[in-house]
Symmetry: C2
Subunit: 393 residues, 2 copies
């Protein structure tokens, strides 16, 4: 995969377990137009505080990211660690410190092992000649079971450009935190303000339909860098080229978001929740998120139990306008309940068959308006409890 003007590397710096790559670089040979979205959590990791301030310039050259340590709840010493890391990277490349982005994921509350970071940075810079984005995707994994990556190639006049993204997952994803990181690189030339707006919208239609607003970790970071090395005509808003870019970026982010759900901690099911007939789109999303976040619904999915009553109950407390005599629900194409009541015993048997599948769709119609929303979720399994009970050990 060729993303013009970008270099990648990932090395073992012994921040995490031995034998695992845990320090990685994404480097653009020229300054890139960049923007980022960070956690809304009031408790922010040191690298988030540092990177957020710098990205306001709209420009970045290099990202350094580590797994194994979140550098969160680490106070002034943590800020010094993040700042020193960025200084060493800047010196290594001979570039301005302000163009270095820093990201971290891992355990909260433990100081960064800076001697290892200091050793790791030159090694990582040396490895750029041969590294790949896929290696970076692997180095940022924590409890993830597979690296997450998505790529689109887009024709643009006489040339073409690439949008490539990687991500790491976020615990059970839905309720609560657990860090989500995603880094997108493209060699397209894109107008800065347009990139910013497009990136935010694409996040809203991907990572934000698998994660509750506000329920974010101390370290969540989504960063995009566009370096223009594909030499396409600058993409400006309101053009056909803009539409193609928006669609392709959206595709990359949605693919990454869906991979995160599929790799939810202990997940055995991938469930699409489609709500229709809500009073408004936001109300449809409220209802869909209430279903997706219900521990009772998620354990029923794990148990392959067609317990549609729990889904109605979740819709009922979601805050969406509900008339319980107009609620309908299907698992894939099997109607389980209509006008608020059970569709009959035949539905029970057929619905149970649907829930035995690894992937299925839950459709809920509220019957009160035209609002719609789709979100993605996983089930809540024994494995989730195991992973999170012993995360630090």
């Amino acid at each position: 995969m060729d993303i013009k003007g970008f270099q990648f590397s990932a090395v073992e710096a012994a921040i995490k377990k031995p034998g695992r790559k845990d320090l990685a670089l994404i480097y653009s040979e020229v300054p890139a137009t960049a923007c980022a979205v960070f956690t809304t959590n009031a408790v922010k990791a040191a690298p988030v505080l540092l990177s957020r301030q710098r990205i306001s310039s709209g420009c970045a050259r290099v990202l350094i990211v580590n797994s194994g340590n979140a550098n969160a709840c680490t106070g002034e010493q943590g800020m010094l660690a993040a700042t020193e890391t960025s200084r060493l990277v800047a010196e290594g490349f001979g570039i301005a410190e302000e163009t270095v982005q820093v990201a971290s994921t891992g355990v909260i509350g433990v100081q960064m092992p800076m001697e290892r970071v200091r050793d790791g940075i030159p090694t990582a810079i040396n490895a750029l000649a041969t590294g790949t984005l896929a290696e970076v995707a692997e180095a940022i994994m924590t409890t993830d079971t597979f690296p997450k990556m998505a790529v689109r190639r887009v024709a643009a006049g006489t040339t073409e450009y690439t949008i490539a993204g990687i991500a790491k997952g976020a615990g059970m994803i839905m309720p609560n935190m657990a860090t989500m990181l995603s880094f997108i690189v493209t060699d397209a030339a894109v107008d800065g303000p347009f990139l910013q707006q497009t990136f935010r919208e694409a996040i809203n239609n991907s990572f934000n339909i698998i994660s509750v607003d506000g329920d974010t970790s101390t370290n969540d970071t989504c960063l995009i860098m566009a370096n223009g090395m594909a030499k396409n005509p600058l993409i400006l808003p309101g053009t056909p080229e803009a539409a193609a870019f928006v669609q392709s970026l959206q595709d990359v982010l949605l693919s990454l978001a869906q991979q995160i759900v599929k790799d939810g901690e202990g997940a055995t099911k991938f469930v699409e929740i489609r709500v229709t007939g809500a009073a408004t789109d936001p109300e449809a999303k409220l209802a869909a998120m209430a279903i997706a976040n219900s521990s009772l619904v998620k354990t029923a999915f794990f148990g392959q139990d067609a317990n549609w009553g729990r889904i109605f109950a979740a819709v009922g407390y979601s805050g969406a306008t509900v008339d319980q005599t107009r609620l309908s629900l299907s698992f894939d194409d099997v109607v389980m309940a209509k006008n608020g009541i059970f569709a009959g015993n035949d539905a029970e048997a057929r619905g149970t068959e649907v829930l035995k599948k690894k992937e299925f769709t839950v459709r809920v119609d509220l019957g009160v308006g035209c609002g719609t929303a789709t979100v993605f979720t996983s089930d809540l399994s024994h494995e989730y409890v195991t992973i999170n009970a012993d995360y630090r050990t």
Copy 2:
């Protein structure tokens, strides 16, 4: 235990599993002053719709309650079932139908087996001569592992009165639904409007500090009946007698609420969360509830992992005003973190010891104001997943 003028019974009506009592009565020999608080879920069970309308009179004589079937999402047939149930009870006692309260808990979406209810009602009425409130507490259990009951005797001038309550638990309690029922009986003579106000306040300081507002099931019901048979002078607001009544009612409800947490599905820990130093009391409660509801925090409790970083992260997204450089956290008396950073490795070992206990307190100080709140929660265990994956089978 003598609660003057009340009779109780619980019988097997085969609504639930064989060999389990599942139909119960609480009967007052005279009309009782009564009030109730019902679920705020937009999807309401038939008995809730019926009882809510009737209780507005401020009077009740008898409660009929069943487990094994929630009579929720059952449409018109469900309403007919609840109405017929109340009519049969009224006829059996020769009292006005409007003074009958109906409550149900169990599976959602299945029609009530009315032939069994019809058979069960006369049996239950006959059993009143010998029944006890403790039997009713047992009959309303679903996934509860022990019946929940609390009693206070209160001196009132030359006489004394009793406040007795029972409850059934509510799944993992914290996130989401799972029905909570609680019924309180007292032979005290209490002013109606005062009872209503006092009952609501006592619920706010008990059941509402173990359960998220709005995250309620289709069937949640808290009912109190005060029949005045203790012949105490009528308790009126602003008197010393009122203060004693308020305190005793609060004690009964808090005891029941704590029993519910201790019997949370699969719970192995009972955790008190005390937040201080918040900007306001409501913000303190926001922070405490975010901690109590975090699946990541709760699995760490189960794993006996002193992962205080997850608690800070939960506080960070709670919506409470947070300055991350002023956060402090203790497990019992072990300070884990101060001014946002780790207190050191000695704390780690000692904190882990605290988490090995069955009951402990998490203290979080936000350091920004004088707001305080206390809530109670349990851990999230493998057993929770098992119970809820297979609830209906």
